[in-house]
């Protein structure tokens, strides 16, 4: 081989390596839509365009048990506006379904779900279907059988499922679902019921404990939160989530006072949003700070295990739409 031939050969190899490594860097931004009415307003549409979000993971319905212990769909999505982006249907299944159904019923459930998704789909086809179920070892066999049956109906369509942090950390104990890929849910990790919890939505101190345990056996997408809620505690005991109490409302000093422990204390018995708040009740407002989200994105970036990764944000609501810059910076950190 002549000198120039060597040069050409090594140049080719170099370029090939370069091209391959370019492919590794592909990360896509997506969002979850979890409302029953799919009714995007102009701001939401503009946000999706600006953020170049081409896929919306849309919850189509929940599956739960009725009084006759039959699995039924509830809260079916209603497409009020026509989606301009690709829709990936998501089905949330409560774990009791797999505790109650036998294999015959599970097989039927897979068919029912698939046919219902096709029926509700506002677009021609799906490239992916996602199943959300907080499975545990005791129902893993049934859940995995369901996934296998569902997959068998889907042809070329990819099947994905959500993975909770403990399922991610202990795949040998909880099992690995028979799907094409998973979506690691990096949120709702704290103890919502605990008075001493600081943030049950996003707590990197807890999240970190579940990461860095080796490569998960499935290609993974990642889901980060960007929502807020208020949690009501009475005498230190959790009472309920109050999703519509904003920080601005808690600033009303005639009703609330901010304590040193960051709880808003109720100053007098009052009825707010149809909840009876008692004197001394405390409200913990939780949201997702940008710095925490960026740190979470950095942590998760070390867990990437496929060439084309999706970073999903939960969920498409006004506060996400109004925080476009924040989302950009979080995305950049991933």
């Amino acid at each position: 081989m002549k000198f120039w031939q060597y040069i050409s050969f090594f140049s080719f190899v170099f370029l090939a390596v370069l091209m391959t490594s370019c492919e590794v860097e592909s990360v896509k931004k997506s969002v979850y839509h979890w409302e029953t009415d799919f009714n995007l307003n102009a701001d939401e549409e503009a946000f999706l365009v600006k953020e170049e979000i081409s896929t919306i993971y849309t919850k189509f319905f929940d599956v739960t048990l009725n009084a006759n212990m039959e699995a039924i769909p509830v809260a079916k999505v209603n497409f009020v506006t026509a989606p301009q982006q690709e829709i990936v249907p998501v089905v949330y299944i409560v774990t009791d379904v797999f505790k109650a159904l036998d294999s015959v019923a599970i097989k039927k459930l897979a068919t029912n779900i698939y046919e219902q998704l096709v029926q509700l789909n506002p677009q021609d086809k799906f490239s992916e279907i996602q199943v959300d179920c907080d499975w545990m070892a005791s129902i893993a066999d049934r859940y995995f059988y369901f996934l296998t049956e569902l997959k068998s109906l889907m042809g070329e369509t990819e099947l994905s499922c959500t993975i909770r942090l403990y399922q991610y950390k202990y795949p040998d104990l909880t099992g690995v679902p028979p799907v094409d890929k998973g979506a690691l849910m990096y949120y709702n990790m704290g103890e919502i019921l605990s008075y001493s919890e600081t943030n049950s939505i996003l707590n990197n101190e807890i999240g970190e404990q579940y990461l860095g345990f080796g490569e998960y056996p499935l290609p993974l997408d990642f889901a980060l939160p960007n929502f807020s809620w208020s949690l009501l505690y009475r005498y230190g005991e959790f009472q309920q989530i109050m999703p519509n109490i904003s920080e601005a409302m808690l600033a009303d000093s005639s009703l609330f006072t901010l304590k040193e422990n960051q709880y808003y204390m109720v100053k007098k018995d009052t009825l707010i949003q149809n909840v009876f708040l008692r004197y001394g009740d405390e409200i913990r407002y939780e949201n997702c700070e940008e710095s925490e989200l960026i740190y979470a994105a950095e942590l998760l970036s070390h867990e990437k295990n496929q060439n084309h990764t999706n970073l999903l944000f939960y969920d498409l609501k006004p506060n996400l739409v109004n925080e476009s810059d924040k989302i950009d910076r979080v995305f950049a950190a991933f």
Binding site: A67, E70, Q116, L173, L193, G280
Partner: protein, 766 residues
């Protein structure tokens, strides 16, 4: 490695289980609301969704099929009460349209039609079933509404309504036309049809009310719609849940709806829906409704709901143990704050309860309330809640004068039981006989009191807590073992309610209480009530006996503990299938005399294990040995220290004195409510004081300086344990300084485990 991972995983899951207990299974809301005032006493079982303590989360539902009931009632009257309701139900609802009627060959209504009677009615029922079939959609949308045939059916319904000679069929076909127009989204036409076919009939039938419901949902004027729906809410029960869930809540909207109302009755109906939606204090709303429509059935249900709210605020946390983190042992420093607010809120609730009682009396005086039995029963119960025996009995007597429903009768019996226990508690035979008689009498109202099994369970819980507050552990435990029916409370046991008494005793009883408990159990001359209460416990007798002995072990009375343990058959300690909660073989599998520095479970010596009597016997022997034999005295003191230490929270044999262990105890996530030593009878479990005493004796007795240092190090374990639960870090740091000062040569080496065996072996020279 895999084993460790598994343990870590299981620990993780055990904490996750606590979480999920709270999140998915932890009882909350209406599921835990304590109630001894039967929610259906206002005769509104069909409105259980507005009951404050509906127990809906625990799966209890009532009145789900009201639409069918109302319709069947009308048909029953139509056929002159000659065809049983069940047969009407079977033909109309039991057999789907697509299935042939011959399946009903023995059905009386079917035979009635078959004999040629009421052919128009037969045709109508067939038509109504067809409409239902056409509109039917299945859960998974596999059968959709048949639009084309529905359109045809609409025309048929209109034509037949116009042509029908009987008014009831005119109405019913008209109603079918409205339903079809509604689902076909032909709302304008639907409105016209109502005005043409239904309104002129001025019918009082429930079908007219149902028609009004569909009409209201098809008109454009929103406030008018809510006005009409409030009328439906007042006069029919089957559509109420739908209306209630969607009814607006803002005051602005309320005023606009009220402005549309054409009578006080209509206003009262609107106000009642608003009052039902109020989770806070609503007596002013009840007053307002009573003033304009004292005949409204809704105020009865609202009054009951108000009492149920006050019961919840008053009793739920106190009786069930859920809803508060008020615990002086939690170490969080919030105890005083929580206690302060709890007391303030209780005062406010009591003040409100007094006001409700006064207002109730006033409403009764000022208005012609139809259901006087109910209102006086309510006053009796409020009197009971306020500890006012005179008022309670006065209103019980008044209520009895009026002819109340069976539910009211059952409620009055309940108030009598509660009052007997609260106001006249003397545990003599006369009292017991009276109580047993009344308990048996309440059982006669099983069908009348709301969610009876739970209701009865809560009566038992009320009695148990009364005795617990009085410090009478025996009666508290015996009644606790009767708490059943899905009552969620601190000692609730899903499997065996009989075990609930065990848990209560385990948490609260001292040996003297257990002596008394067994004295009663072993008494051959039990009263009838005592026999009734003890009877169910027989299967768990050895478990209770073990607890009896264990209370002595906790109090360090080893001889008495051994005496009782020895009455338990040896086979009990060997059971491996966990019958009757026997986990001894599984949990008592480590050497309780093992010496170790580590507090984790990973260094347990499994070469030797004991049963409870064998262990106590050996401990007694060692204690005698150190007194009588100087040989190996320091070593034996250390072994005794080990035995006591291993019985603590950090020990390898905690199961000798406790029955449950949780990783969440101590530290940041301490939740002492779930710890079973609240009464302090097993304080050593979290202090290690006894172990420390014997380690100190070992240190002082030892003739070898290195073994003395080793025993001092063992005392440090006890200090660590106590620091976790009680004393905090300061004491631990102080002890470390003392260690350095006292044993400067050995201090550093003894902190780690590297030289453990070197120092341990020095016992031979001690």
């Amino acid at each position: 490695m895999k084993v460790i991972k598994l343990i870590v995983f299981l620990l993780l899951f055990s904490s996750a289980a606590q979480y999920s207990k709270a999140c998915s299974y932890y009882p909350m809301g209406s599921d835990i609301r304590f109630s001894l005032f039967s929610q259906n006493i206002g005769e509104g079982t069909e409105m259980s969704y507005v009951f404050y303590s509906s127990h809906y989360l625990s799966g209890y539902t009532n009145g789900e099929l009201l639409g069918t009931d109302e319709n069947i009632t009308e048909w029953y009257a139509f056929f002159d009460k000659k065809i049983p309701r069940i047969e009407i139900d079977q033909l109309i609802y039991g057999v789907p349209y697509e299935k042939p009627y011959p399946l009903l060959s023995s059905n009386k209504l079917y035979k009635h039609f078959k004999s040629g009677k009421n052919p128009e009615t037969k045709e109508y029922i067939h038509f109504a079933k067809k409409v239902e079939y056409l509109l039917k959609e299945d859960y998974w949308d596999k059968k959709e509404m048949d639009i084309e045939n529905s359109k045809l059916a609409l025309e048929v319904a209109i034509e037949r309504s116009r042509a029908a000679k009987q008014e009831i069929l005119k109405l019913r076909y008209g109603y079918q036309a409205l339903v079809l127009a509604y689902y076909l989204k032909e709302h304008k036409r639907g409105v016209q049809l109502y005005e043409e076919l239904i309104a002129p009939l001025n019918s009082t039938s429930v079908i007219a009310t149902w028609s009004l419901f569909h009409y209201a949902n098809m008109i454009d004027d929103g406030y008018e719609r809510w006005r009409l729906l409030a009328k439906v809410f007042e006069s029919s029960r089957s559509k109420n849940h739908f209306i209630y869930r969607r009814y607006p809540t803002s005051k602005e909207v309320l005023n606009k709806i009220l402005a549309k109302c054409q009578s006080d009755d209509e206003k009262a109906a609107v106000l009642s829906i608003y009052a039902f939606k109020n989770p806070a204090r609503a007596i002013d709303q009840i007053k307002e409704i009573a003033a304009i429509n004292p005949n409204s059935e809704m105020i009865d249900i609202l009054l009951v709901r108000e009492i149920n709210k006050m019961e919840d605020w008053y009793y739920t946390d106190r009786y069930t143990g859920f809803g508060k983190s008020i615990d002086p042992y939690d170490g969080s420093g919030y105890y005083e704050d929580f206690k302060f607010f709890d007391e303030k809120n209780f005062e406010a609730d009591k003040k409100y309860l007094k006001r409700v009682m006064q207002e109730t009396k006033q409403i009764l005086r000022d208005n012609e309330i139809p259901n006087k039995a109910l209102w006086n029963t309510s006053l009796a119960y409020m009197g009971y809640m306020l500890d006012d025996q005179e008022e309670t009995m006065k209103y019980v007597a008044i209520a009895k004068k009026f002819k109340g429903s069976k539910t009211i009768e059952g409620q009055l019996k309940t108030i009598e039981i509660l009052s007997l226990v609260k106001f006249e508690s003397k545990w003599d035979e006369k009292f017991q006989n009276k109580l047993l008689t009344q308990i048996n009498e309440v059982k006669n109202y099983k069908r009348d009191l709301y969610d009876y099994d739970r209701f009865f369970g809560q009566i038992m819980l009320n009695i148990s807590r009364k005795y617990l507050d009085d410090g009478n552990m025996v009666l508290a435990a015996l009644f606790e073992s009767q708490v059943d029916g899905g009552t969620h409370e601190h000692y609730h046991n899903w499997g065996d309610r009989e075990y609930q008494g065990f848990d209560l005793l385990n948490e609260n009883a001292f040996s003297k209480d257990m002596d008394e408990f067994f004295e009663g159990w072993n008494n051959p001359n039990k009263t009838e009530l005592e026999a009734y209460l003890y009877n169910d416990l027989e299967d768990l007798k050895w478990r209770y006996t073990d607890l009896w002995a264990t209370t002595y072990l906790r109090e360090d009375n080893l001889e008495k503990a051994l005496e009782i343990y020895e009455t338990i058959p040896d086979s009990v300690w060997e059971i491996t299938n966990h019958d009757y909660h026997y986990y001894y073989k599984q949990e008592l599998n480590a050497n309780p005399f093992e010496t170790r520095f580590a507090t984790s479970a990973f260094s347990e010596d499994r070469s030797i294990s004991y049963t409870k009597p064998d262990f106590v016997r050996e401990l007694i022997r060692l204690k005698k040995e150190v007194k009588t034999n100087p040989k190996n005295r320091a070593y034996n003191y250390m072994l005794i220290g080990n035995a006591y230490y291993n019985m603590t929270y950090n020990g390898n044999s905690w199961y000798y004195t406790e029955y449950e262990w949780s990783s969440n105890e101590g530290g940041k996530y301490s939740d002492r409510r779930w710890n079973h030593t609240n009464s302090g009878q097993n304080k050593d479990y979290i202090t290690g004081d006894r172990a420390k005493k014997y380690y100190k004796l070992a240190e002082e007795t030892s003739k070898n300086r290195e073994f003395s240092a080793f025993c001092f190090r063992l005392q440090y374990k006890c200090i660590q344990l106590k620091a976790t639960f009680e004393t905090g870090e300061y004491v631990r740091r102080k002890f470390q300084e003392q260690f350095k000062e006292k044993y400067p040569k050995h201090h550093d080496e003894l902190y780690g485990c590297d030289r453990f065996y070197y120092y341990f072996d020095k016992w031979k020279d001690a």
